[in-house]
Structure formats: structure tokens, C-alpha cells
């Protein structure tokens, strides 16, 4: 069996076109390459891929993290649990142990350290994963519960889906911190989508530094490219960063996206550029 290839589509700045590019690559894989592809939406705070791929959801299950439960009968109020916890999620005050589940990272330290064996763990739901099919492609996304701070465990769970398919396309949340790292860590290749604006290029630089720090192979896709705005191209040239595609700025793409349609099927010429991008990125990722 051939190894499954995971391509992460990330950006630094939000709204540069990650979802448009990643959903298009899934369409290209299904249409052109005949690949059995899986789309994984790791933007669990604001997942959008389903609005375009319109999957049939066939399975839905909760994802949680382990949090402590204190047995008051057994607790000797020694305070060791509070000393171990780095997140102030468990504290011992006036001979009573209080837990703050939302602060808990689920490390298990308190339960391990408790000398009285008074702490067990229970799962606390932080979000759900929904999976199904969009055409011939498999689909999974995570939805973080509103008001929940801890997204990485849900993201890691989304990333573990679709291991059996030949190609996995990971739609990554914006930024460069823990949710992004959790999304791209297991990827074979990263595509950084940028736009030729000062914000786009500045945040691209942050993203380039991040993927270099992680030691992942990557290339850039310049979205909404315009002949009179060369700043993204100049940046890549200066930093020795490979550009795999330039997608021309086209109001038709923005309009198609605004309606929840896939520019891949909707905008003339777009499909060809995405088919080409898929071929180049697969070639790169296999190296």
C-alpha cells in the first residue's frame, strides 16, 4: 500500500484563501487524479469547508480531554495536586480541593501525584468531530464548543482521521501558534497561501519562519495575484522560497466563494490552475 500523503494548507494571515485552495485541491484530486482524498478541516474554531463541499455527515462523535474528579472521602487535603498543576486547574484551599475544568490541559499530573489515590479522571467534551463524504472524497471536521479555550486536542483528533486514504488535505486555522502547530505537525508538506498586501506578506514571513522551525518542506501559493503588486513575489525571491502557484485576482472567485460555491466548478480557468497545483504539490511532497 502506498503511504498516505498529508498536505497542510496554512497562511499566517486569515482570509487569504486557505479554504478555497484546500477545497479546490480535494476537487482536483477527485476529478483529475482519481485519488481517494480526504479533506480535514482543522480550523475547529471556525470551520468553513463544509459550506463549500456540502458533505453528507454520516458519523458524529464527541472529543474530550481528561479532567480530574476528586473523591472527597479519600482526599487528605495535602495540596500536592495544586503544587503539580501548572494551569491552576486544581487548587487546595482551606482543606477543600477545587477544580476548574476549563483551565485543565489534561496532563494527568494531579491524579498521578495524589498520595491518597483520591483523584480519578473523566472525559470532558470540548467539541465534536463530524465525518462523511463529499462526492467521492471523505470529509472530516472538528467543531469546538463555543466558550471553549482548548482547541489543540480536538485538532489532533481531526488530524488522526482519514489515515487510510491516499491523500489528505488539511485546512489549517490562521495564525502561527499552538492550533496551527497541532494542525501541521504530522503533514508531509505545507502550502502557505498568501496575498500581495503588506499584511499578507508580513504574516507570510511569520508562517515561513514557523514551518522552517518545524523543519517541514513547504512552498507558497500567491492568491489574488496582481501584476502591479509584486511584494509577495519579491519576498519569496529574497527569502529563497519556492512559489508553486500564482492565482490571478478575480472578482468572480470572490463572488462564487461568497455564495458558497466552489470556484473550481464555477469560475472559468480556475479548475485548470488547481489541477496544475495539485500535480506540482504531489510531486514536491513525494520528494
Amino acid at each position: 500500500m502506498k503511504k498516505s500523503i498529508a498536505i497542510a494548507v496554512a497562511s499566517g494571515k486569515g482570509g487569504t484563501g486557505k479554504t478555497t485552495v484546500s477545497t479546490s485541491l480535494v476537487c482536483a484530486a477527485a476529478a483529475a487524479a482519481g485519488y481517494e482524498a480526504t479533506y480535514l478541516d482543522c480550523d475547529v474554531e471556525e470551520p468553513n469547508g463544509h459550506l463549500f463541499l456540502k458533505p453528507r455527515i454520516e458519523r458524529r462523535f464527541p472529543v474530550g480531554i481528561p479532567v480530574p474528579v476528586v473523591d472527597e472521602e479519600k482526599c487528605i487535603a495535602c495540596g500536592v495536586c495544586g503544587e503539580v498543576c501548572q494551569y491552576s486547574a486544581i487548587v487546595c484551599l482551606n482543606k477543600t480541593v477545587l477544580t476548574f475544568d476549563k483551565m485543565c490541559h489534561g496532563c494527568g499530573g494531579c491524579a498521578l501525584a495524589c498520595p491518597a489515590g483520591a483523584i480519578t479522571e473523566k472525559e470532558r467534551e470540548i467539541g465534536v468531530i463530524e465525518e462523511g463524504y463529499a462526492g467521492d472524497s471523505a470529509f472530516s471536521h472538528g467543531r469546538l464548543n463555543v466558550g471553549e479555550v482548548m482547541s489543540p486536542p480536538l485538532i489532533k483528533a481531526v488530524c488522526s482521521m482519514g489515515r487510510g486514504s491516499a491523500l489528505r488535505i488539511i485546512d489549517v486555522p490562521p495564525g502561527t501558534s499552538c492550533p496551527v502547530i497541532a494542525s501541521i505537525k504530522g503533514a508531509d508538506y505545507v502550502l502557505l497561501v498568501t496575498e500581495p498586501t503588506p499584511f499578507g506578506v508580513y504574516d507570510l514571513d511569520l508562517a515561513v519562519n514557523m514551518v522552517r522551525e518545524l523543519g517541514l518542506p513547504f512552498a507558497v501559493v500567491v492568491n489574488r495575484s496582481r501584476r502591479d503588486q509584486t511584494m509577495a513575489l519579491d519576498y519569496c525571491k529574497k527569502k529563497g522560497v519556492k512559489i508553486l502557484a500564482e492565482i490571478a485576482d478575480d472578482r468572480k472567485v470572490a463572488e462564487s466563494y461568497s455564495r458558497g460555491e466552489l470556484p473550481y466548478f464555477d469560475v472559468p480557468g480556475y479548475r485548470e490552475s488547481m489541477d496544475e497545483l495539485l500535480i506540482s504539490v504531489l510531486k514536491e511532497a513525494r520528494q
Binding site: 494571515k13 503539580v84 496532563c107 494527568g108 463555543v146 498586501t197 511569520l206 470572490a254
Partner: protein
């Protein structure tokens, strides 16, 4: 004093461009860039840094090679996959700093006391002056954690400046999403101004961000950026927002002058002849009225 936070749910809807304009429209505001892992506001406001400080949000584990007996206890206990096995090497294990969650379990339970657990520097934060008012901003280190703590720090510094200088308004540039840094940006604020765009994604993400504001009991207002990309969707979103009790304070048209202003490093409202400038002035005027803010 009022603290207002500009958020969006979806990324790239124009938060920072709007905040840069609000900086120019508000009466000497304190500015706070809370999008600490992709901070852009300084690119337009060109702050003159007065004070630079290290930020330390948590601790990091490190294995001390000559004390380690390679027993593997740390590997067994770490739930974050941050202890890496090094086959045929001494010591047999090391810590992946990127994966390390800073929980300290490995260090606490190491039978040899071979894992040090020390405060780490996760970024920097700055107090600066801009043409429009003082600004607090930050830079989270590459692949770092604890963005929520850094956001809380930026906000508390902005508040201290506002109190010290008796300034009436703090304008916060928030991060995208609804998770940890967003929650840290909005809890306890006086109002959130949500910027969205007339797309199915904007609509979907707005629902979740409105729910978040309600969850923390913060009054939410809405403006729609690039409204003319899809006027029908703009109307739909506005009706939906109204039904949710979110007041609509304006529409901003799509125009390339927004990028031009970014390139020239000036707020759009100060760019001569920029069509969205008028729209943004209306947004600010309506919003300031709604929250009873004194105007310039």
C-alpha cells in the same frame, strides 16, 4: 473609560484596517494589538517603541543529559507526545520543545531528578507611541504557546496606560476565531465590534462569534465589510444579526484603496479620496453613539 474589541470570527475580514482607522477617528485612544500570533497593526500605525519586555507564559522541560538514566518514565507519562525516544543514543530521550505543553509531569516524576523545568521566554511585548495615541503590542515567539496569557497582559497594560493618562477609550485589535486568544481578548470588555464579510463563511462564523459574545455577556455590534461583493448576503446577515439582538452599525464598501492605504502605512480614513473612508466614519459615529462614547 470604555474598552472596545474588534473581532470577526473569520480571519481576513478587515479587522486591522478598521482598527487603524478607528485609531485616527477616536479621541486619543489607547491601542492594543491582541492578535499576538500574527500582529499587523504596527505595520500601519508605525509605533515608536518606548519600552520592550520579555514575556514568559509558562515553563519548559529539558532533560539534563548526565543525570538521565534513560529509564523512560517521562516517555511513558507525557500525554502530549513531547518526549521523543532517541534509539541507540544517550540519553535515550529528549524533549520536543514545540510539542511540550509545559505541564511539568515529566520533571515532577523523574526518578533521577534529571529534567529541569524552567520559566521560558515565549515572546516580547512593547509599549509604544503612535501619531494617534499610546499602543501596546506584542510578538509571540515562533511556535509558542500561551497566547491567551500574552493577550491578557497586553490588555492589562493598555488599561493601566488609559487610567494613568486619563484616556477615555481603548481600542483592541482582536484575533480571528473563537478560541483561547479571542476569549482572552473579550472577557470583561465593554463592547465588541464584529467585522464580517457577506460570504457564507462570514455568515457561519458570525453566528459562532455572536454566541461567544453572548456567552461572556458582552454587548455586540456588527459592521459588514466589502458589503457590495454580495449585497443579498449582506441583507441576509444584517437581518439575522438583528434577530440575534446584535445592532448593525454600518456597511463598508469594497475598494482597492484599503490595500493602497496599507502600502502607504496610513489609516484608510486618512487616504485622500478613498471611498470606504466615508463608510468607516459612519460606522465609528454610529458605534460611538451606541456605546455612549464622547466624540472628537
Amino acid at each position: 473609560m470604555k474598552e472596545i474589541v474588534v473581532i470577526s470570527g473569520k480571519g481576513g475580514t478587515g479587522k486591522t484596517s478598521l482598527v487603524a482607522s478607528l485609531a485616527a477617528l477616536a479621541q486619543r485612544p489607547v491601542l492594543a494589538d491582541c492578535d499576538v500570533d500574527a500582529a499587523d497593526l504596527h505595520l500601519v500605525l508605525e509605533p515608536l517603541v518606548r519600552e520592550e519586555n520579555d514575556f514568559s507564559g509558562g515553563k519548559m522541560a529539558r532533560i539534563i543529559a548526565d543525570k538521565c538514566s534513560s529509564c523512560g518514565k517521562c516517555f511513558e507519562l507525557c500525554r502530549f507526545g513531547a518526549v521523543v525516544k532517541n534509539e541507540n543514543q544517550t540519553p535515550g530521550f529528549s524533549i520536543d520543545q514545540v510539542a511540550c505543553e509545559g505541564c511539568g509531569v515529566c520533571s515532577y516524576f523523574c526518578p533521577e531528578g534529571a529534567i529541569e523545568f524552567k520559566t521560558a521566554i515565549n515572546g516580547q511585548w512593547f509599549i509604544s507611541d503612535t501619531r494617534y495615541g499610546p499602543m501596546v503590542h506584542a510578538r509571540l515567539g515562533i511556535a509558542e504557546e500561551n497566547s491567551g496569557k500574552l493577550v491578557a497582559l497586553v490588555r492589562s497594560q493598555a488599561k493601566m496606560i488609559a487610567e494613568r493618562e486619563n484616556l477615555s477609550c481603548i481600542v483592541v485589535d482582536g484575533p480571528p476565531g473563537i478560541g483561547c486568544p479571542v476569549i482572552a481578548s473579550i472577557t470583561g470588555a465593554d463592547a465588541v465590534l464584529i467585522v464580517t464579510e457577506p460570504t457564507v463563511s462570514g455568515e457561519h462564523d458570525l453566528e459562532r462569534v455572536v454566541e461567544l459574545a453572548r456567552h461572556f455577556d458582552i454587548p455586540a455590534y456588527l459592521c459588514i465589510n466589502k458589503f457590495d461583493i454580495n449585497p443579498a448576503m449582506t441583507g441576509k446577515i444584517e437581518r439575522k444579526a438583528a434577530a440575534e439582538g446584535v445592532k448593525v452599525v454600518g456597511r463598508i464598501r469594497y475598494d482597492r484603496s484599503v490595500t493602497e492605504a496599507q502600502i502607504k502605512k496610513i489609516p484608510v480614513v486618512l487616504l485622500a479620496g478613498a471611498p470606504p473612508a466615508e463608510d468607516i466614519r459612519d460606522v465609528w459615529s454610529n458605534f460611538a453613539n451606541e456605546i455612549n462614547l464622547q466624540k472628537k
